[in-house]
Structure formats: structure tokens, C-alpha cells
């Protein structure tokens, strides 16, 4: 038996890096310690796609990696407006290869951020992001706000490792030295742990941010007695708590990015942070979901200048979310082939987008089958990054880490699959050029 310590978890944007993994004589993982339930299940592994396959007469037929990769390359080389989508649950090395592929074939490349924290990125491009790494919160934060985010379910170790329950230099007492505030539309499990729960009417976050901004900037007179279901006196006491704090952090989630005003919500949340910064140290951070959703945004930004939703059909990167996002080009019926890697648009995209996706040739690369597999024309199983393949990943606070390979696998790594498709595409184009 082999024991691996300080293993990194490839599940959520927390990327816990103190996991202990035991591997038996047969090379199979037998035990995972220190991970949350979801992370443990991810590392232990479950139902895999067993073989590369190509759809013929409506049925998937098993084939070799070579055959599947060749067919994938033919589909992409033949496409006029291909979409390359997913990229968040794989490593940066894959993402770099994906960008090269997109440049080669003039594709639209986009990651899951466009249906997740995409609005947060648009807001950052409007007003910026006063933020920090998670260790600043561990060591300094005396007020922790979770807004529209439910870490108990979505990021189970977040509070323990990085925020409310952790202990640091200026917060040696852990939760005794901090106050936790949860703002949400319902009393979540996280809200039950909070020192203060603020219940907002659905869609009312924008108004509450505005009210807090007004109070923190000395204009409490313009705030009405009740704002989106929250009483003014409660807002005043929250503002007072903030003014008297040494360091506040607001973690926000899908509850804010995907309700009502969308990116305007986040811009307002950041403006609220700027207003709080007039009184104390104030920071804000998106609770990124997939462990490397941030990594794709980083890679794409340093290689192509923009974080997601990039159209390369003109030879240069064109960025215009709303026009160049994966959902946009699907709903508009624009794209004529798609490569989907480590994600499941069939479950998460609007019906119109999924309908179009089902009509066009789809290549899927993933360790696991999912509803997108139901209509994929080429499926290529891959190794699980962080368990069977190594590479760079970026935590939710943009700290870069390297996930490890713990066990051998019969499956090809994502990066190699993409690089081999790229080689095949180049070979096809060269032949056509002759």
C-alpha cells in the first residue's frame, strides 16, 4: 500500500491541498482522508466511460483512440463555425492546447464561466475587483459575508480552511474572533450557522447593495424603511458592524450572479465593497465552482487577451459576450460543430441551445458519461486530472497549484487528446492545401 499526503482535490474552487490518499497493491485508491464528501467521491472515482466511441446509425460503437481522434479532427476541420466549450474541470495544459486548436481552426472558444461567474467577470471589467488570497481572510477577516452562496453544500471545506472556522495570526480564536453574515433569499444550512442572517426578497440583491452603499457613504437618509424585504434598522446595524470591523470579505455565489440584474448585481456588490473600504479593509471574491474554471480564464487571458467567449474566426480574438458566448452561438443556430470537454451543456444550457447542439456534430471528451453523451457523435474518455493526470490549476483566489497524478490509468490525458486532434487537423489542412 502507498500513502500520498498533501494531495490536491480536483473538485471545487477551494482546491484543498492536504488530502491523504491510500492506494492498494492493485493500483486502486482505497481510502481518501481530509476531503469533503464530494471531493472524496471524485477522487475515489465512479462510473467511467470505458471506451472511445463513434455514433453510427444512432448508436455508439466502441473504437480505438486513434479512430476517435481522427474522426474528431475531420469534424472540426470540416466545420465553418466550430465551438470549443467546457475547459473548467481540466488542467491549464489542456486549456493552452485548446487555445491553440481554436486559433488553428478559427473557432469560438468558451468555458463554463459563461453560464456561471461570467457576469462577475463582466462586472470586474466595469469596476475592478478589490480582493485578496484566501489566507488574508484566514489571518485577518473579522467579518465574513456569504451572499447568495451556500458553502455548506457547494464548497464544504471553505469555512473550515479559509474563513469563519479557520484560525490565523490576527484571528487566533477562529470563529470567536469573527462574525459570519449570510445574505440569501432563504434560510440555507449555511445561514443557520451565521451570527446574522439577512433574508432578501428574490431579485432584491441590487437594492440591498445600493442601500448599504448609501449608508456607508453617509446618505442613510435616502434609504426607505424597508428594502427588498430587509428592514432599514437591520441594514443600519450591518453597516455599523462593517464600519467597526478590521477586515471584511464578501463571498458571493450564483444567487447574485444569476438573479435579476445579473452582472449589474456584481458591479453593485463591488461598489458596496469600495464604499466599505472608506471605513475599513474591504474585499470581495466570487465563489468559483469547478476547480479550474478560473484557470481557463487565466490561460485564455494571457494567450488571447480575454477571459472567455472568444471568437477567432477573423484570425484575431474578438470578445463580445452576448454575441460570442457558447449559448449565444447555439441559440442563434450559428455553430455547425462542437467539441465539449469536461462539462455537460445538455444539463446546464437553455433548451434552445441544447436543441441546436443535438442537431450538429458533437465531440465529447470526459472521464464520465453525462446527458451530453446521449447525442455526442464522438466520445473520447479521458484520465481524471488530479488523480490520473497532473497539471496546473488556479484556485478561486487565483493561487496557482499543481494537481498530481496518483495512480496510473488506461485513459489518455485531456492535453494529449487535444494535442493529437490538433496534429490531425493540421495534417488534414496541409493535405487540402496541396
Amino acid at each position: 500500500m502507498a500513502v500520498y499526503t498533501d494531495v490536491l482535490c480536483p473538485f471545487c474552487g477551494c482546491i484543498c491541498d492536504d488530502i491523504v490518499v491510500e492506494v492498494g497493491e492493485d493500483g486502486k485508491i482505497t481510502k481518501v482522508k481530509g476531503a469533503c464528501a464530494i471531493g472524496r467521491s471524485k477522487i475515489m472515482g465512479h462510473d467511467r466511460m470505458e471506451s472511445p466511441a463513434i455514433r453510427e446509425d444512432g448508436e455508439l460503437r466502441d473504437c480505438s483512440y486513434d479512430e476517435a481522434i481522427k474522426r474528431a479532427a475531420e469534424i472540426l476541420a470540416d466545420a465553418r463555425r466550430p465551438l470549443l466549450y467546457g475547459w473548467s474541470s481540466t488542467v491549464c495544459e489542456t486549456d493552452r492546447a485548446g487555445v491553440e486548436l481554436a486559433v488553428e481552426i478559427g473557432a469560438i472558444i468558451d468555458n463554463t464561466a459563461s453560464v456561471c461567474h461570467g457576469p462577475s467577470i463582466l462586472a470586474i471589467q466595469d469596476v475592478g475587483l478589490p480582493s485578496c488570497t484566501l489566507g488574508q481572510i484566514r489571518n485577518r477577516a473579522d467579518i465574513v459575508i456569504y451572499w447568495g452562496s451556500n458553502p455548506v453544500f457547494a464548497h464544504p471545506n471553505h469555512m473550515k480552511r479559509y474563513s469563519y472556522l479557520s484560525k490565523g495570526r490576527f484571528t487566533p480564536g477562529g470563529k470567536k474572533d469573527r462574525k459570519m453574515v449570510v445574505v440569501d433569499v432563504r434560510e440555507t444550512k449555511s445561514a443557520k450557522l451565521a451570527d446574522l442572517f439577512v433574508k432578501v426578497r428574490p431579485g432584491g440583491d441590487f437594492l440591498v447593495f445600493s442601500a448599504l452603499r448609501a449608508i456607508l457613504r453617509g446618505h442613510e437618509d435616502v434609504v426607505p424603511d424597508e428594502v427588498a424585504g430587509v428592514e432599514k434598522k437591520d441594514l443600519l446595524s450591518l453597516a455599523e458592524m462593517i464600519k467597526n470591523a478590521n477586515f471584511i470579505i464578501t463571498f458571493f455565489g450564483m444567487g447574485v450572479t444569476h438573479s435579476g440584474a445579473r452582472h449589474n448585481n456584481i458591479a453593485n456588490a463591488i461598489e458596496f465593497t469600495r464604499a466599505a473600504h472608506l471605513h475599513t479593509k474591504a474585499t470581495i471574491m466570487p465563489m468559483r465552482g469547478h476547480y479550474n474554471v478560473n484557470g481557463f480564464n487565466q490561460v485564455c487571458t494571457w494567450l488571447l487577451g480575454y477571459p472567455f467567449s472568444i471568437d477567432l474566426s477573423q484570425g484575431y480574438p474578438w470578445y463580445n459576450p452576448g454575441e460570442t458566448g457558447a449559448v449565444d452561438v447555439l441559440v442563434h443556430g450559428e455553430c455547425d460543430a462542437a467539441l465539449i470537454i469536461s462539462s455537460d451543456p445538455a444539463s446546464h444550457f437553455p433548451a434552445d441551445a441544447v436543441r441546436h447542439l443535438a442537431r450538429i456534430p458533437v465531440i465529447q471528451i470526459d472521464p464520465y458519461p453525462n446527458p451530453t453523451t446521449e447525442f455526442a457523435d464522438v466520445v473520447i474518455p479521458s484520465a481524471i486530472c488530479g488523480v490520473e493526470a497532473e497539471g496546473s490549476v488556479y484556485r478561486m483566489d487565483s493561487v496557482p497549484l499543481r494537481v498530481r497524478k496518483i495512480v496510473d490509468s488506461k485513459f489518455m490525458a485531456d492535453e494529449e487528446i487535444i494535442r493529437r486532434i490538433l496534429e490531425e487537423v493540421r495534417a488534414i489542412k496541409e493535405k487540402e492545401g496541396e
Binding site: T5, R138, N139, Y316, S398
Partner: protein, 565 residues
Amino acid sequence: MAELLIKNGVVFDPINGVKGEKMDICIRDGKIVESLHDEHGARVIDASGCVVMPGGVDAHAHIAGGKVNAGRLLRPEDGRRGLEPKRGVCKPCTGYSVPNTWATGYRYAKMGYTFVMEPAMPPLTARHTHEELVDTPIIDKAALPLIDNNWMTLQYVRDENYEMLSAYVAWMIRATRGYGIKIVNPGGTEAWGFAKNCGLDDPVPHWDVTPADIIRALAHANERYEMPHSIHVHGNMLGHPGNYETTLRTFDVVKGISASMQRQTMHTTHIQFFCYGGTSWKDFESKADEIAKYVNENEHITIDLGSIILGDTTTMTADGPMEYTLYRLTGRKWTNHDVELETGAGIVPFLYSSRNPVHSVQWTIGLELALLIKNPWKVVLSTDHPNAGPFIGYPILISMLMSKKRRDEVMKEVHPAVFDRSSLASIDRELDFHEIAIITRASAAKILGLHNHGKGHLGVGADADVAIYGISHEESDAGAVQRAFLNAKYTIKCGEIVVKDGEIVATPEGRTFYVEPECEESLMNEVMKDIERLFKEYYTVSLSNYPVQDVYTPHPYVIKAPMSG
């Protein structure tokens, strides 16, 4: 390997004392050689009528890492200012002040530059910096880790435990694959963790040390090893009116410390931002003359300019409180990213307007410094890219420094405050090609200690990094100078032609240079105990996942730095 002969060019190679002589340069296997084996088989470049220099060396440009990428992400509008489609061997380019990594490599190569120092690498995110450096084509590069606001540094300085400090510094430089010690607003960036700042002689909140203590201790730690470079310092109070007095006192902090190598003991960076007189923006004035006087009279200091390029740019620095001040001043978008136990970062877009009196005076200061400091070996051309302007503005600065006429023309265009609050109008000096070759490659290489590693000169055995500019060495027209330095006729990188007639023709991967200070094992074991405790109690990553792995430096050039004797 094929040989290359550069014939008939007028060569400026200051390190070897070559001052504009017509001579041939022989190249084999990526190096400069005495003579060719087979002159008839060699590829020949006819450089008649051209100026030939070693490849340019940039001692200070923010080109890679978390802060730079946050700047790109923050500013899609800047991305659109530099769009170029993929073409030939080139990948697509974006950005003006925050170009993508591909554009960064191509644009430097087109200017004849072959080495760039990324000067601010947060240790915790060093992997990110290296990932971007790997994706920056053609040029060689290195990065300076920030080691001045680290809790371990502060603790050892407070305890006056300088032995342990030197071991910690060695560990840090090795763990991050860094090149030396970078200091940015020492103490002030730590204080910014709670939204405070501090001056050179103020105690750092919670730490009972002063920024001056930190600088002095780190200078001593640096000189315990035969480090190629000195401490690289961005001091306290950057950008504040009246800060020149702090700057002069900062210079004095390391006076008397002896260097372990033949070089300065402190490189003070983007000094333009530290030369301000007055008590507010209303009576703001240039004190470049005071700073130049000190540098002229003292041998332990070198500087780079941080000269302004008028127009829009993106400011970014580990000096978090400074960026906050800039955000409050402009009301523009503001990103801040403090890094646990170590450092911080701030980013704010900024317009240097020729109609603004302060900006106009700032614009004169970089030029004043280059012209008032008598010895060009103490000066490196820089814009603190992108803080005072993007690096592609270097040819503009070169043309200004070479032409009094050009300066006078521009001074008529900017705010008239420049005539009262700066001495630029009264300076007649014009730099020649030899002096330009010093401040754009030779002095930078010497100050960084790279001349011992094949950079910044064309002596036998040096890397065959050569820039050939299509301009006569007698040319004095500023426009012609600017055009020539923006698009080299040829750039040769390690013997390979990468630029021909101003176009990229090859995109080899560059190398990453890093230094390995060699600390005694017993001392290192001792310091590891403290480091282990630090990680357990305060960091959010495990110690074993912290050091940068081999895979992030696929083309390494390692410089060993033994203990100095």
C-alpha cells in the same frame, strides 16, 4: 550548425569598448565566435549603413504573472487597441499597455530586445509568473520574487536574526526560481493588509520594525551570496509630492554596505516616480536634479528611469496603498489583490495627459534624469512597463534623449508648467548611439549581472543576441531614430534570425534564468523549522505544494550563487 556572418555594420558594443566601429560579427552555435570555420558556407547579412548592437536588455518590465493578467482581464478595451490577426509564424496579438504573452515576445524582438526581467513575482503565485514566461516567445527572461513584506522576513528583521534571514531569502529565491530580491513599499504593503501604509522610518503596524530596517537587512542578506544582482528597490511613498527626500534617505540606508560582486548595492527602480518636490499636487515640481546629484556623487546606487509615455496606460504594482490613492484620485476602476503573508497588488487604468500640469512635469522627469546623470552606466532605460507607459514607447524615449530639437517641440505641446517646474528646457545634452547602447543593453546587463552570462555584449563567447537597426550611425533625425528602434532590420536570438525587415520570421522559445543561492545546510535545516511552522499556522497551501516544480522552467539557465567569502 550553420554559421552566420554580419558584415560591414557599425558596431556599438559598450561592454567591450567598441564605440561605433565598422566590424564583422561571427556567429556559430548560438554564440559569438572569433572567426568562422567556413566563410563561404556561412549565411551573410550585409549590415552596410546599419547600426549593430547587442540584443536589448530590459531590467524592469511587468510582462507576466497574476497582476499583469488581472490587468489584461480588467481592460478588454486595452486588448482591442492592439489586435493583430495570426499571420505567418505569428499567433494573434492583443493589447497595448497589457499585451498578451505572444505580442509581448514579438514586440520586444521587433525592437531588438532579447532579455526582459519581470520585476515583481509574488512568491505564492510564482508558478503563474513562470507559466506566462514560458508562453512569452523568443526572448529570454527572469523574475524577481517579492521578499520584503513577508512575515518571515519581518520576524527575522525584528529579531535582528540576519543569519536566518539570509537562509530564508535563499530558500525563497530557490523555491520561486527567482533571480534576486525585490522590494516594493517595504512594510507599507504589509500594512495595507489592514488598509494602512507607512513611511521609511515609521514602525510597521504590529511589527516593531521600520521599512529602513527591512531594506538594510535585505541588502546584507543579498551580499552574503555572490548574487548577480543587488536588491531591487521600489521604496516608500512612490508617487507622493515631496517624496524626493524619502528617496534620498532610502539611498543612504545601504550606504557603506559592501557588495559581494563588482556592482551596486541597491538598484532603485522607476526612479521618476520618486523625484517629486512640493507639498501637494498644486505646487508639485521636479526634483530630478537632486536625485541626479546624489547618483552622480555616489557609487552604490543604480537606477532605471520609469519615464512617462504620454497617453493611456495601465498602472500595476505590489504597492497596494499607492494604487488605492490613484483610484481615489481618478475614480476609475480598481483591482486589488493582497497575497497572504507576502505582498499585494493594485491595478488602475491611467491617462497621462499632455494638458495636465502634473503629468507634463512627470513626463520631463525621466528625461531629465537620463540627461543629468553623467555616467550612463548607472542608468537603464525603462517605463516601468506598463506603469509610466508601454514598452513599445522606448523608441520614442530614445529619440527624445538623442534630440534636443525633438524635446523642445514636445515641450511646446505639453502644459507650460514644464518650463517653471522642471529643468528639462535648460538641458542641451544629447545622447549618442553609444550612450543609447549603454542604457538599453550594456548597463542593464551589468546591473543585473548578466554580462557574465552572455548578455548585453558581443564579445567572443557571448550569446549571439544581436540587433541590427536600419539607420546610419550619423543620422540625427528624431523620426528616423524612432522608426529604426521600433522595427529592427534584423534581430538575432541565440544565433537564429527571428526578425527580418521588421517582421517576425521565427519564434523559438526563450530561456528562464534563475539563481540558486547556496546556503549552509545546517542553517537551512534550522530555518526550515520556522518555515514549516509558518505554513502550518498561517498559509492556506501546504509547504510541499509551494515550491515551483521543474516543469515550469523547461529551458532553464541556472546561476549558482555561493556564499561570499
